[in-house]
Symmetry: C2
Subunit: 266 residues, 2 copies
């Protein structure tokens, strides 16, 4: 399979390196706005490179767009008509596969559910990869390619992928913001934030075996008003944190109430 990758940032780099490792994929070209960045990645994996979309090597089977959400549509529209029968796919959680439907028949999405950082090793085998495709031919190709990335590949719809992306914000970006609040609270009392690490790890690990709703502990869950009021007093000069503390305390109590009313899901 001959692949052209557009984008040489975090996601493009991790895709390129992983596909190169699998040895069954021929990455023939890297295209990036930044010629330097394209060259750097292309040299790592032994591909050609360019910063001009019209110079795309049309001897390709699939174009993989690993670019920011906002750039996807415009790049698709700029691709030359000579590759209109090939398969194009992007890697975004929130942009529908159908963004390509005006110009292409064979299109889809390969969405790896993980946060990527350049310079950090990623355990691809364990990353869930979700594919969406416009037809059987595209689906088969995306399946073959995705199985070279991960052992955990699933087909989903645009709607499912968008909800998955939303869920990812709730379990990754938002908890990370709360870790930052934890660090800030530690700093006000000259406490080392690293003391909280075993607790953070245990909280994340616990839900491998327990529904989060069943794993909940703490003053909100216990309706311990004395402790809650003491906490609000400590936060009292940061009104935004007071609101967040109160909203999440209500959420925990609401979740506990619904738990007893509803049947368990699985």
């Amino acid at each position: 399979m001959k692949v052209v990758i557009i984008g040489s940032g975090n996601v493009g780099t991790h895709f390129a390196k992983r596909l190169k490792e699998s040895e069954q994929t021929d990455i023939i070209q890297i295209i990036s706005r930044s010629l330097d960045s394209a060259r750097r990645l292309a040299r790592t994996i032994g591909a050609t490179y360019t910063n001009k979309l019209e110079e795309i090597n049309s001897d390709l089977d699939l174009v993989l767009l690993a670019v920011s959400d906002d750039a996807i549509e415009s790049i698709l529209n700029q691709l030359p008509d000579t590759i209109q029968d090939r398969i194009v796919c992007h890697t975004s959680g929130s942009v529908p596969a159908t963004v390509a439907s005006q110009k292409f028949k064979n299109y889809g999405v390969i969405y790896p559910l993980q946060t990527f950082r350049i310079g950090t090793e990623i355990s691809w085998e364990q990353i869930p990869v979700f594919i969406t495709a416009s037809n059987r031919r595209s689906e088969n190709t995306l399946l073959v390619l995705s199985k070279r990335l991960s052992d955990n590949v699933e087909k989903i719809s645009d709607k499912q992928r968008q909800s998955l992306h939303l869920a990812a914000v709730f379990v990754c970006n938002f908890p990370n913001a709360l870790y930052a609040v934890g660090e800030q609270i530690c700093q006000t009392q000259n406490l080392d934030f690293r003391h909280l690490q075993p607790l953070i790890t245990e909280t994340a690990d616990k839900i491998k075996e327990t529904h989060p709703i069943d794993a909940q502990t703490g003053p909100a869950r216990r309706h311990d008003k004395k402790v809650i009021n003491m906490h609000l007093k400590i936060l009292s000069n940061q009104s935004e944190l007071v609101s967040i503390y109160q909203a999440l305390t209500r959420l925990i109590q609401e979740q506990a109430r619904n738990k007893t009313e509803k049947p368990r899901y699985f």
Copy 2:
């Protein structure tokens, strides 16, 4: 050291088993409101037991209270005057050490920073244990005892412990509530929540090497209004989740702004 443990719930059980393992501590008695529960724990570790505070074995060096926050003061007041010169300590994050000062001279707190569940193995070695004491004699004893629990023992003040407890709510209870939201979103789309586990683990692990504020990713951090609005639309029939999404999005953007204004802490 002869120790009497009051309380045979989660915390009491984990303390008793760990101290028994260390073999240098003689747990002479378990006291609990529930005689059944006291008997069960006492038999596991080879101690006597009772459900009456006045039957406390006064041949003791230290009393460890592993009971709910609300019960601490009342239990301390009910302890017989014959043990007034011994060391008493509790294990609460939020109750000041000085709760014991009316009746006792030698008192303190041993606060292990972890969520405890009965029936689950705890890696005590890695749990940070914080001690607070009323005087040198009590401090030395609490230090000796705590080092039998964990390799990671620190002295802190009441105020520091209360802030640590607040930080623990932000990095444990609140993220867990957000994991539950993630599960709920998955369920609405028939998606398996376990798909999110690698992302949750990576998010918790990442901050072992990076300040949370530097590890942030996602639509809020990128000020990606299109994606944020799509997410709010998906949540639109759950007004409480909409408010939480908006508040945490503002928090992330606020954190990013303050990051560039302030010097880094360490």
